[in-house]
Amino acid sequence: MTDIVMDSSSQPTNHNQDRATRASEAVKRGLKKRYAAEKRFKAYGIGAIAIAMGFIAILFGTIISNGLPAFSETVIKLEVNVSEEIIDPTQERDPAVIRAANYRKVIFDDFRALFPEVTARRDKRDLTKILSSGTTFELQRLVTEDPSLIGKTIILEVPVAADFDLYNKGVISRDVGEDDRRLKDKQLDWFDTLVEKGMIDTRFNTTFFTNADSRDPELSGILGAAAGTFFTMLVTLMLSFPIAVAAAVYLEEFAPKNKLTQIIEVNINNLAAVPSIVFGLLGLAMFITFFGLPRSAPLVGGMVLALMTMPTIIIASRAALKAVPPSIREAALGLGASKMQVVGQHVLPLAMPGILTGTIIGMAQALGETAPLLMIGMVAFIVDVPGSITDPATVLPVQVFLWADSPERAFVARTSAAIMVLLGFLVFMNALAVLLRKKFERRW
């Protein structure tokens, strides 16, 4: 008995010391492993980021290298004698006559005169294919605006046909067999002659930014789609921002917390996850078929996108409202402010940066949305720049879709260029969101 007691009283100290030494050794042994694990983890992280950045670089590299050629255009400086005999034989300067005159003949006559050796009917036709169909419209526009030009010789500076533009940029090459390209050797020779004569020039592509869509790639531009996007976004913002903020404020500040509001909450969150094309179908069924609103119009597009954007803004706004410290509410309530005053004068201003950030992110989402707009007819080929929210229009992403779908090779560059413009808008909006957040961020 005594022995056991002795043992048990002396052993714990030894035992504890033992354990301490063993523990420290175990820690030492384990350390290396732990550091290795940490290093591995960091390496995974860096690898993941590198892969992501790599893909972004590839994406941007492709888009930019494809799209850059679209920002320059090949033009021809054409000396044209605006012959009175052809344009206005009666010499009465009647606008109707001037407008309906045969400008094509004026241009073609002068252009063919540059190549007197070309006589065959077929060759003559191939020769004039160098000129874009926009050339006649340009001359018509100039003369109609200023009839005093009739009888004078003017210099037209107009884009050449898209295929020759590509040849000038080196996309179409002589090295490819004649049968495998759209341009004949003869046409290339004629074009080279024009280059030698100094009639061909390359300039910044203003056409791309001043025209709407066109069947002729050299005449097509993004202004129509950009205007359509502007009107659509305007409608979306005007509808979704006030409705979503009002809904968020009500749900967060005023609504009683019960089953019904819970159901509403869940539904709003679910709404954010609904595929966008479903909203398009809803728009088609409700706004166009039932309410009879115009098809292809930014009004309907904006309404559909507003439906889609609203849940995003509501969720972001509620988070922003929740983040306002309760002490501010208490302070205002304690002074005798009514609920409305507390929300309007204190909570909402403090939540505004978060709400604006959410709104801009929602708008950026809507900006890039294509699918629902296909359903309501905003995929139409529209040559006029829309002037109001009820005019037929298309938007940038749909324009990208349309051009990507076109067979003409010249649209490849324009597609990428349109994507660049779209991405430019997105980057701008996201930068704005960051700036707003930085500027209005207040500490309390």
Binding site: P256, K257, A331, L335, A337, S338, R443
Partner: protein, 278 residues
């Protein structure tokens, strides 16, 4: 009653208190609470509280954490209304008018009963806007000049004027903790309330700032009725004329501060004050 008009509560003899539970019964009560029960959902936080708060006196509410003193304080300006699950029953009268009746609007009540919170909570606006906010929403000031006067007066009363008079347009959140708390007091005063409730106003402050606030409380007593929740026994002893000891949702003992701190009737009060629990 003659004692009241002299308005020197310190010199008053302790109000005779036969028992602990009905000790709140005084004649010149600003707030008269009878049988107040408060529930948070199923949990009862206050049990039949009878407590009177006298005009132009500082009443300290002391007790261990979770004893219901803050809950009681927040009943007095109906701040508990903001908590959905909070239910208040019993009667609380301000100058003989039931504050939970429909006859008294809660906004009106809060204009009469100001509050200063545990953590200084100035609005993230300028010092001027902080103080002028209350008068503005209640339409107290007739014009810009009167508003300026109210702001200056309130800041002077709160002992902050000299420190901030040259930078009224700077944000109130840029002040030090103690200054922020005095700004909150100035903001409460600016509404011209009759009562100021203070919920541990010094718990987030250093001793120097605390001393300033205590001094201020003593000065404010001349014009306002004050109820203060505090965890500091010394503070209660220093600033208050009457003290109520809360324990587990009951008011155990109410009486003149001097008496509570020297010869309390209840053993629990004695134990708490001497630091045996809490």
């Amino acid at each position: 009653m003659g004692e009241v008009t002299t308005n020197i509560p310190e010199s008053k003899p302790a109000v005779p208190m036969p028992g602990a539970e009905n000790a709140g019964d005084v004649q010149d009560a600003k707030f008269k609470s009878r049988n107040v029960d408060v529930f948070y959902g199923d949990k009862q936080a206050l049990f039949g509280v009878d407590l009177d708060i006298r005009a132009n006196e500082v009443t300290a509410l002391i007790g261990p954490s979770g004893c219901g003193k803050s809950t009681y304080l927040r009943c007095l300006n109906r701040m508990n209304d903001t908590i959905d699950i909070c239910k208040v029953s019993g009667s609380i009268e301000l100058d003989g008018m039931d504050i939970y009746s429909n006859a008294l609007d809660v906004v009106h009540l809060r204009a009469k009963v100001g509050m200063v919170f545990q953590k200084p909570n100035p609005f993230p606006k300028s010092i001027y806007e902080n103080v002028s906010y209350g008068p503005k929403i209640h339409g107290i000031a007739a014009g810009k000049t009167e508003l300026d006067e109210i702001v200056e007066e309130s800041l002077i009363k709160a002992g902050l004027w000299n420190e901030v008079k040259d930078r009224l347009d700077e944000p109130g959140t840029g002040l030090s903790g103690g200054q922020q708390q005095r700004l909150c007091i100035a903001r409460a005063i600016a509404v011209q309330p009759e009562v100021i409730l203070m919920d541990e106003p010094c718990s987030a402050l250093d001793p120097i700032a605390t001393a300033k606030i205590e001094e201020l409380i003593d000065e404010l007593r001349a014009n306002f009725t004050i109820a203060i929740v505090t965890h500091s026994m010394q503070q209660a002893a220093r600033v208050s004329q009457r003290t109520a000891f809360f324990h587990l949702g009951y008011v155990v003992e109410v009486g003149a501060t001097e008496k509570i701190f020297t010869s309390p009737d209840d053993k629990r009060t004695q134990d708490y004050i001497t630091g045996r629990f809490g």
